[in-house]
């Protein structure tokens, strides 16, 4: 059987001409078909989809061959991607079926042909869920295979798939936060529902979990971005997770900027109203103050913070307050004694020295401490090298090109053209405006910052 596999399932012009084969009825026939067929991947997928009856399909797929052999031994992950995938998913899903060996799962995840697998997105989701289920308590065993799927399945790493949230959830559950970083490092900008059966929750959960991962790793800037994506995701009625994300976003911003920032204009109004009436807003308004008075404020609503499971973050916010107070002092004073700082910030002079030293070290402030305990704040003017500027320019050009492409794609999309044609007579002025926009229009707004 093995030699025939090398000729199977190569999509191409000749594949379309291959005669339709008889529908396989049993698993043996199916495996036989899979290993010998020359049909295109789409044909194979069709056959697999209609294999057996709806009720018996998974049970059949999950059984063993007549010879008692494991069908996964026979098939190859590269060439029989689809067949392998269907059987694997069924085996993991059907209760009582023989669980697949771990190396089968791993080898599939590392070797499958992405183009073929994309024909059966629902099976990929099922497989991912099955992997999590099968790993049971030892969820860290699931991370590797899931990571391979997430990295290999989408056509580009910028696409979101339904496996993304499953993988991140597994990472968080297993507390292997760093494992998620290779995936999180590429921001999601593409959504294609044809390659993955996405639900709005997938997007929310992925970014929420990403935000949690970054927050745990204290990478606040990224955490802010991820939480903001959750908060600003389009919604008719906001989801509970969006409100939770907004709460965390507020806390992360307090840590990152020392103040809460108004969410973007396109945020759902209901969310903004709700956060205004929450203890998070009270905390943000009062911030930064001395740790003692902040603790008093938090204590008033401690139950709310506790039930939101945010007490840990809140504590970090409070710990951070003295740094923001010191930073504020640098704007007003040139020299200050450590004791004076301590008085303003509400901590002991020795502790102030530690904090100030640390802040100087990480570059938060530009200052020096004299022997007698006086701190001199110097102006910190940011310096940019030519390389920095060039890099920024290159990024800007890249963005500009990206936006131009998006605009072109939009202008040539069917929906847009239909609409434009319909309104051609009564909205000439508007259309003219659109077409006459110079190609650099995307970055034209930049001039106002210059």
């Amino acid at each position: 059987m093995a030699p025939s596999t090398s000729t199977a399932a190569q999509p191409g012009p000749s594949a379309a001409l291959a005669p339709a084969q008889e529908q396989p009825k049993t698993l043996d026939e199916l495996v036989q078909y899979l290993t010998t067929t020359t049909g295109s991947a789409a044909t194979v997928n069709g056959t697999l989809k209609t294999f057996g009856t709806k009720e018996t399909r998974d049970t059949l797929l999950a059984s063993t061959l007549g010879s008692g052999q494991d069908p996964l031994e026979v098939l190859s992950p590269e060439t029989n991607t689809l067949g392998y995938l269907y059987i694997l998913a069924a085996r993991l899903d059907v209760s009582g079926a023989l669980p697949p060996q771990i190396q089968h799962v791993e080898s599939f995840c590392k070797r499958f042909t992405p183009e073929h697998a994309r024909l059966a997105p629902d099976r990929i989701s099922a497989l991912a869920k099955g992997i999590v289920k099968a790993s049971g308590e030892n969820i860290k065993h699931a991370l590797d295979p899931l990571c391979s799927i997430v990295l290999r399945y989408p056509p580009k790493p910028t696409y979101l798939t339904s496996v993304h949230p499953i993988f991140l959830h597994a990472c968080v559950t297993a507390r292997h936060f760093a494992a998620a970083l290779p995936v999180l490092s590429t921001p999601i900008v593409d959504i294609d529902t044809t390659i993955s059966d996405l639900h709005y929750n997938d997007n929310l959960l992925y970014h929420y979990a990403g935000g949690v991962v970054f927050a745990v790793l204290k990478r606040w800037r990224e955490a802010e971005e991820f939480f903001e994506i959750v908060v600003t995701s389009p919604a008719q009625t906001p989801a509970a997770i969006q409100f939770e994300a907004l709460k965390k976003l507020t806390l992360v911003q307090l840590i990152l900027y020392g103040k809460a920032i108004q969410p973007p204009k396109y945020t759902n109004n209901q969310l903004i109203r709700m956060i205004k009436n929450s203890p998070y807003n009270t905390l943000g308004k009062a911030y930064p103050q001395t740790a003692a008075s902040l603790t008093a404020i938090v204590q008033k609503d401690v139950e709310a913070f506790r039930s939101d499971q945010n007490l840990g973050l809140v504590q970090q916010v409070i710990d951070r307050a003295s740094r923001w107070l010191i930073k504020k002092l640098t704007l007003t004073y040139i020299t200050l004694g450590l004791t004076d700082i301590g008085k303003e910030v509400g901590v002991e002079a020795e502790e102030v020295r530690v904090i100030v030293l640390n802040m100087i070290e990480i570059g938060d402030i530009n200052a020096s401490i004299s022997i007698d305990g006086n701190v001199t704040f110097a102006d910190s003017t940011p310096q940019f090298t030519k390389a920095d500027v060039d890099a920024a320019l290159a990024r800007a050009q890249e963005q500009s090109k990206l936006l131009r492409d998006v605009e072109r794609a939009l202008n040539s999309s069917k929906d847009y053209l239909q609409k434009a044609l319909k309104h051609k007579d009564d909205a000439w002025g508007m259309d003219e405006d659109m077409y006459s926009t110079p190609p650099s229009g995307a970055w034209a707004e930049e001039s106002m910052y210059a």
Partner: protein, 523 residues
């Protein structure tokens, strides 16, 4: 509108007032103050003054009672007694005030007689209005309404007075009538301190003023051309034009004053200042000088608002070089003139001292009183900022001396102003020196540009994702059983406790995430 009036009167009468100091350092001359006003304006000011100056309460109450006897509003008595009672509670314990009935003898027969007379008059006027209304004579109806409005105003029933003025409007036939009505309403509104409605009537009056001036002008042309000799015609025309202009000037001045008071009442001090400097000569105030606002009050309002908001050059050109303003208003209050001169000369210590000296006088001006402290704060801040502007470094010691403060007081003030962004500088706490900020414009620009670029890129990225989500219709929607969100969850990962208190939500939050972060601080 009626609600507004009620509330304002409430706060005016029940508001807690502090006792103002009156001594050699804070001189206040009651006799001079009351000589400026007559009638209701005087009584109102006295009732405003009594609770704040218990030492003057007896004298003020007697003067007020004397004036009330000449008017027809019997309710003023009770207002007076309320104010007096407040003064009694505010009075220091070693010099208690005599009870009200000992100070003012209330003439019950006078009250009853006045009430009866008022009722008679009212019936008479109402009957008149009815007769005119049935006769449909516009002009008579207008006058009947006007009389009724004036009557109600004199007995202190402002709301009915306003109602009649409003009705009167549809019976106005000439723009002069409209103008008369607007001025009367403005008087009423200022008396009530109903600042929000003043601009409405000013706007209504302005076109009417233009129209009536034009009408008068064309009529004088006709009369002039019919005169016998060309020379006589010319003089007549000249005389009538002068009269016309002064008429117009009078109304215009009143409108400006009303606008200024309204802006002041609404705390837009800069607009108030520029309205006040436009008012005409004191002569054109006419009866308003004693009924509504005395020229010396205008001088105080204008100067304080101007010092708090205008640039030094503006103060110079609009106040000191404004001949009408100087001769009509500034001259009537010499210390105010001195104040402006000192301000322009940079003698801030003298300015602040003089402001403190006359603080009692200022706090007793009804329109100014609620804004006095914020105006003083603004003036002080501007003084410090102006003082520092020409220097690169200033010793706090010198600064304190220039303002008559202690060093720590000066430091407090400076630190506050830096925090508010009014002073661009930083304090050297050890050397007690204030240093001006030197900004590297080029580096600043670079930093700002880089930040703008980064912000825009990340905003673009997020918006593109949002666009894609919308295109794919991945929009959060309410669960189908919106009344039971807990059951309606469609989330793939479910381990959440029920989220009570957040109704109408789609989905729930997996608990695992929240748990993790709660532990986050332990890492």
């Amino acid at each position: 509108m009626e609600m507004d009036i009620d509330e304002q009167q409430q706060t005016r009468r029940t508001g807690v007032m502090r006792v103002l100091p009156i001594d050699d350092n804070h001189p206040f001359d009651l006799d001079q103050y009351i000589s400026n006003y007559t009638g209701r304006a005087l009584v109102d000011r006295l009732t405003f003054l009594i609770p704040q100056c218990p030492t003057l309460a007896v004298q003020a109450a007697q003067v007020a009672a004397k004036h009330i006897r000449n008017m027809r509003d019997t309710s003023l008595y009770s207002h007076l007694s309320i104010a007096y009672e407040q003064a009694q509670t505010n009075a220091s314990s070693d010099a208690p005030l005599p009870p009200f009935h000992e100070v003012v003898s209330i003439d019950q027969t006078w009250i009853e007689e006045t009430n009866r007379k008022n009722a008679d008059e009212r019936t008479k006027l109402e009957v008149e209005l009815k007769t005119y209304s049935s006769n449909m004579i516009k002009e008579s109806i207008r006058m009947a309404h006007r009389d009724l409005a004036e009557f109600h105003r004199s007995v202190g029933d402002y709301q009915t007075a306003l109602k009649h003025y409003a009705k009167l409007r549809e019976f106005c036939t000439t723009s002069q009538h409209v103008l008369d009505m607007c001025i009367a309403v403005l008087e009423l509104l200022i008396e009530q301190r109903n600042y929000t409605h003043i601009p409405t009537y000013v706007f209504k009056a302005e076109p009417a003023l233009d129209a009536s001036t034009n009408a008068l002008r064309s009529s004088t042309h006709i009369s002039a051309s019919s005169a016998a000799t060309p020379h006589a015609a010319a003089t007549a025309a000249q005389a009538s034009r002068d009269r016309l202009m002064s008429e117009r000037q009078k109304t215009q001045t009143k409108l400006e004053v009303a606008t200024g008071i309204s802006h002041l009442g609404l705390a837009s001090y800069e607009k108030a200042a520029s309205a006040f400097v436009r008012v005409g000569s004191a002569a054109s105030l006419g009866a308003w000088a004693t009924k509504v606002i005395h020229p010396s009050d205008i001088a105080i309002y204008t100067t304080l608002c101007a010092l708090a908001t205008l640039q030094r050059s503006q103060i110079k050109s609009q106040i000191m070089e404004n001949d009408t303003f100087v001769s009509s208003y500034l001259e009537s209050e010499p210390y105010i003139r001195e104040l402006v001169v000192n301000w322009l000369g940079g003698k801030f210590k003298a300015v602040l001292e003089s402001l403190e000296k006359y603080s009692t006088r200022h706090a007793l001006l009804p329109h100014l009183a609620p804004h006095l402290s914020s105006l003083m704060q603004l003036i002080r801040s501007r003084a410090v900022a102006l003082y520092f502007r020409p220097f690169a470094t200033v010793k706090l010691e010198k600064m304190a001396a220039a303002f008559g403060w202690t060093i720590s007081q000066a430091e407090c003030e400076v630190v506050r102003l830096i925090g508010e962004g009014d002073i661009k500088g930083r304090v050297d706490r050890l050397g007690k020196i204030l240093r001006a900020q030197e900004t590297d414009q080029r580096a600043e620009l670079f930093a700002r540009t880089m930040k703008a670029g980064q912000d825009m890129q990340s905003a673009n990225r997020k918006l593109l994702l949002r666009l894609k989500l919308q295109q794919a219709d991945l929009i959060v929607k309410a669960p189908k059983q919106s009344n039971q969100p807990q059951q309606g969850s469609q989330q793939p990962i479910q381990s959440a406790p029920s989220q009570s208190g957040i109704g109408g939500f789609a989905g729930k939050v997996p608990e695992i995430f929240t748990n993790i972060l709660s532990m986050g601080s332990g890492d």
